[in-house]
Each structure stands twice: as structure tokens, then as C-alpha cells.
């Protein structure tokens, strides 16, 4: 049948298997269908035991990241017709432990997110009566790009440094740290510096640039990391030529 497409879906059933296998499914290949629609079709009509994460279906929640034909993708934004006539290979995100089928374990990422202190830090909080912290549109533009991250982890899946060294803080977490460092209301750059200037922080990155290519929200984490390297190097240089009072 011309209006169906074959999917090779990675299955991992830890109670029965020691490593993942592939299972072949047929799904309707409709013009408006994405890979996630095909997976939902399989779960509804063919095999209800297939496990995968999803929520919003519109590129906002960041839950449905998987490896499609070897590339990290949001399956809600990956159209079946782009892969016709198929087959399409669907695997879990790389570089994370697999819990079951297409579901990965993400607590390492969640812990790293918190470690970069992604909130506005003030040396001294203003009292409520003094009003809100104001910001101009230009100041917003400074960091807005880095605030678009949806924590889908596609960048971690694309990053060879993270695959070789799981201690690496990673693209999304460093971009998020930069988002707060560049926020005019924030005063916490110094607090984030120790973690990020470590060899598992920005200096772990070798600028492969794959995180930026994988990012579905054009956050450009690679740029965030390189800009941070540049800034740290300048700070070091300043403190080197002016040992007193540079910081």
C-alpha cells in the first residue's frame, strides 16, 4: 500500500531483554502526520505496550525528543512524508540510559540544570514597595534567544563530549546559565562562574557545534558556551594585568 510507511521502532523490555531490539510497524503515511502521530497510532491500534513520552504535540513541552534515522528530533515536528517511502528508524535519545522502549532517564540533566542556578540572583533584594525590576527591550534582546530553551535534551543527545564524559555540564544547562548571566536584573554571574569555568563546564566543550544544529528552538548553545569562554578569558586577562580590583 502506497499510503502506509514502515517504522523500525527500538524496543527495550528490561524484564525480558538484556538489550534493545527493533520491531517493525506499519502506519498510515498522511501528509499532516508526524512521527509522534505514527507512534500514537501504533500504541492505539497495534501494540499498546509501546512506551514513549509526549505531551503538547506542538514543539513547546520538549517531551517527545527521540532519535529519528540517526538524528535527534522532536517527533512532533518531524513529518512522515519527509522520510517517504521509508522505512523510518525510531530510537530513544542517545547518551542517556534507556528505561524502556523510547523512554530515557533524565535525572542527570535535571540535576545539572539546578546546579547552574537558573534564577535571578540579587546581591540585595529590593523590597516590594520599591516596585519591580525594570528592563528595556534592548536588555531583553541580550538574552532572549537563550531563554527559548524547552529542555528537550536534543543537544545532549547530539553532543559527543557529553557521550564521552557524562560529567560535562552540557549545552542546555550552560546556555541557561548564560541566559541569567546576561539578564540585566541578575547579579549572580560570580556565583555561577566557579561551576562553569571548571573543566567539566565551558572548557569541556570543544565546539563541535552539533548542539546548535540539533536545537529545535534556535537557542544556539554552542554560541553561548564560546561567548562565555571569551568572557572568562577576558576576566582572567584583566585580573592578570590588574591584580587588584579587576573583579
Amino acid at each position: 500500500m502506497a499510503d502506509t510507511i514502515t517504522l523500525h521502532v527500538a524496543r527495550y523490555r528490561p524484564e525480558a531483554e538484556t538489550e534493545p531490539t527493533f520491531q517493525e510497524f506499519q502506519a498510515p503515511c498522511r501528509k499532516e502526520w508526524v512521527v509522534l502521530d505514527a507512534l500514537n497510532y501504533i500504541k492505539d491500534k497495534v501494540d499498546g505496550t509501546l512506551s514513549f513520552r509526549w505531551s503538547c504535540r506542538m514543539g513547546i513541552c520538549g517531551s517527545c525528543g527521540m532519535t529519528v534515522n540517526g538524528e535527534p528530533k522532536l517527533t512532533c515536528a518531524t513529518f512522515l512524508t519527509d522520510y517517504a517511502p521509508g522505512p523510518i528508524r525510531v530510537e530513544p535519545l542517545r547518551n542517556f540510559p534507556v528505561v524502556r522502549d523510547l523512554v530515557i532517564e533524565m535525572s542527570d540533566f535535571m540535576r545539572k540544570l539546578v546546579q547552574v542556578k537558573p534564577w535571578i540572583i540579587r546581591a540585595e533584594e529590593k523590597s516590594l514597595s520599591e516596585g519591580e525590576y525594570l528592563q528595556t527591550p534592548e536588555e531583553l534582546d541580550e538574552y532572549k534567544q537563550f531563554s527559548m530553551c524547552i529542555n528537550c535534551m536534543l543537544c545532549y543527545s547530539a553532543c559527543p563530549v557529553y557521550s564521552l564524559d557524562p560529567h560535562f555540564v552540557g549545552p542546555a544547562a550552560i546556555a541557561l546559565a548564560q541566559r541569567y548571566n546576561m539578564d540585566s536584573r541578575d547579579e549572580g554571574a560570580g556565583e555561577r562562574m566557579d561551576l562553569l569555568s571548571d573543566h567539566t563546564g565551558i572548557w569541556g566543550c570543544t565546539f563541535v557545534g552539533e548542539c546548535t544544529k540539533a536545537c529545535p528552538k534556535s537557542v544556539d548553545p554552542a554560541a553561548a558556551i564560546q561567548r562565555y569562554k571569551l568572557k572568562t578569558a577576558m576576566e582572567w586577562f584583566k585580573s592578570f594585568i590588574m591584580p587588584r580590583g579587576a573583579r
Binding site: 534507556v98 546546579q115 534582546d141 552539533e210 564560546q226
Partner: protein
């Protein structure tokens, strides 16, 4: 980040795929990255080669002639041709990446990438012309 990601210890059933030693052959962009990293060795080679040349020059005419004869050796020529390829690759990839790391704003707007990469290429070209002129006119 000193804390080790040890959580899988208590979950023996989670499947962890091992990273292959040949991960860099998996996609062209990874291979290009590894070649870019490797190119630094050839940059070092050219530095060493230039230092040897200067050293020979200081030692006098006879020594310099010996250096020139040595550098005509087919093996040295082949190494230099390969090194030239890698150094050009190194320079181009470096200039391509520069706009991503450097953000220059004019009148509140970020200047286009070509405005940052362009002057780099121009300076490279001018320096090459200058060197070529010095070498060829002598």
C-alpha cells in the same frame, strides 16, 4: 562538577549504550570536527619547520643549503603538502566559527556574521599576498 553520575548503579536494568571508539566516523560533521582538532598538530609542524629554517639561517650559508636540500626530500615535501592542506582547513573552520563566538552590536543590532568573518578572511588574504611577494620577489 565533581559529583559522579552514579545513579544507574541501583538500576541494573537501565540500558546504557556504550560510545563506540569510532563515534567520529558516524557522521560527516563529527569527522570534520576531529580533522579540525587534528589540524593543530600540523600547525605545530609548520612552527617547528620555520624554527628549524631560522636556526639553519643563523648557522650560516652552508647550514642553510643543507636545510634546503633536506626540505627537497620527497618525504618532507609530502608532509608539507599534507600540512598545508590541514592548516588551510584549520584557518577556514576557525574563521567560520568566529562569528558564533563574537557578538558585535551596532546601533543596538547584532552585526551579520559576514561582517565578522569577512575582515578575518581579508586580513588572511593580505598577509598571504605580503608573504608571497616577499618570497617571490627575493
Amino acid at each position: 562538577m565533581s559529583q559522579a553520575p552514579i545513579y544507574t548503579e541501583y538500576h541494573p536494568r537501565w540500558y546504557r549504550r556504550r560510545t563506540s571508539t569510532y563515534w567520529w566516523l558516524r557522521r560527516p560533521s563529527y569527522l570534520a570536527f576531529i580533522l579540525r582538532e587534528l589540524s593543530s598538530l600540523f600547525v605545530v609542524w609548520f612552527v617547528v619547520f620555520t624554527l628549524l629554517q631560522i636556526y639553519a639561517l643563523i648557522q650560516g650559508a652552508e647550514s642553510y643549503q643543507r636545510f634546503l636540500d633536506w626540505s627537497k626530500n620527497p618525504v618532507v615535501v609530502i608532509v608539507n603538502v599534507i600540512a598545508l592542506f590541514f592548516v588551510i582547513f584549520h584557518s577556514i573552520t576557525w574563521f567560520q566559527l568566529a562569528p558564533q563566538a563574537m557578538v558585535v552590536r551596532m546601533h543596538g543590532k547584532r552585526v551579520p556574521a559576514a561582517w565578522i568573518a569577512g575582515p578575518n578572511y581579508a586580513a588572511w588574504f593580505l598577509a598571504s599576498v605580503l608573504v608571497a611577494w616577499i618570497v617571490l620577489s627575493g
